[in-house]
Amino acid sequence: MDLLQFARGPALTWAFAIFVFGMSWRLLGILLLKRRPDYSEPRHATSWPGAIKLIITRSWPRREFRPRTVFGLSVGYIFHFGLVIVVFGFAPHIMFFRSLTGLDWPNLPNAVIYISGAITIAALIIVLGRRLTNPVMRLLSNFDDYFSWFVTITPVVTGMLAVAHLGARYETLLAVHILSIALLLVWFPFGKLMHSALIFISRGTTGALFERKGASI
């Protein structure tokens, strides 16, 4: 078995298994904790609209907060969008998803993917620089932050190298790329990358609780 076979075979299988195992473990471990009934008289009888509202509106900061957060948010948005374009727009990736889910959608031109990939890498490097230099972020950061950054940028970099056939043979580059995805999947449920799922739960929870009180969302 060569490296590519290992990557496409057992490595991916294990990564998928750990990914879904960890995801369901963590989500249930959180969601099944006790919930206290709230007997207070609600200001608004239905609270789910607040959940929806917060999930949507918190994607963009309030006017009052913009001046102080615009840089960090912009960089964050850039790399998130870049990742979405690269992950879901590149033809070989769509093939990958199709082989897993049977879903298919049209791909973006490769030039768009390459530019997005480059921008994403640049934005991620800025993100790391900010984490290292901004006193607040530096104080807050732990292994999870740096490792999650690493497992996020690695697939982009290895993917770009594979596409450009740079640095090694294509099958090695492709194998390393797939292995980096496997690493991402394995780490995903255990680190901060879970925010991609938790963001809806967390925002929704606050949105619903606050809507009940009429508190500011």
């Binding site: 879904v20 249930l28 099944l32 070989p92 043979r169 492709l174």
Partner: protein, 354 residues
Amino acid sequence: MNEPDTLGASLTRTGISRRSFLKFCTAMASLMALPPSAAYAMADALQRTQRQSVIWLSFQECTGCVESLTRSFDPTLEQMIFEMISLDYQHTLQAASGTAAESAREQAMKASYGKYLLIVDGSIPTKDGGVYSTVAGISNYDMLVETAKGAAAIVSVGTCSSYGGIPHANPNPTGAVAVTDIIKDKPVMNVPGCPPIPSVIAGVLAYFVTYGKLPELDHLNRPKVFFADTIHDRCYRRPFYDQGKFAKTFDDEGARNGWCLYELGCKGPTTYNACATIKWNGGVSFPIESGHGCLGCSEPNFWDKGSFYQPLPTPLADNAPVIAAATLGGIAVGTVAAVVSRKHQADIGTKEGK
């Protein structure tokens, strides 16, 4: 056959003019990206040398490799290689049979001990004492070991002798292995392909005959000059790959437009061979040009790397059952974790009550 015989004399005997020979040398030099002046040196040197003694052993194989080399349109430049060598044993081509054939091999070994070139096609079965393929009652394994002893170098022609090939495919019932799995103390060159391109076989043989050594090899013992680039690197459809234009089925608009076959499982990007440049059938075309993706036939284990039609970046295994099982497992463990935490909290509460 045993007399010392210069190549020049042999050429004269068979009526091949020296201009034809010079032309052959020029073509081979061009093919192997040697400097043009090498053709003259090659022609000059070859004229004077003795014909190279070659023993060709065919083991667990389909004869496709020999067919590839011999069944080209006749007469071809490739076939001129047979004029350059003294093919002392090749059980498909030789006239002799039975004991006479085997004694030819033994005589050739004795006469050119330490100097003959050994060509092998086919893999070597090792299971059950190698009984799955024998020639004249001698197992392939024994014959290889014995013949390899006196060889100056060994050329494994085809994927089977290079990597084990189709006989080696899972579950490998005969325990087939490659030449390099058995012979460790001789220079071995692999010329993989199922079959290899005839010009490539001829080219590397010409090189050995001319220079008396094997050309530069890569990490899989392949001659770099033919196996340095992937099919994908040299593919005329590559621009479509770079633009992200892919045929999705064999009869869609993309296929008709000659777009890239990556999504149809083409293994071009991971296959190192010269098909895209030298092509097949005297330069007529190669598989991708005929509208079918590369199978990767010159790569190790190509038979076991998933379907020929499965795209390269997709998972090899069917992961659905694993994912389902792991999800259920995660749900169970997560539930237990939550229950344990709740109990833990309740215990604190009770303790507090006391």
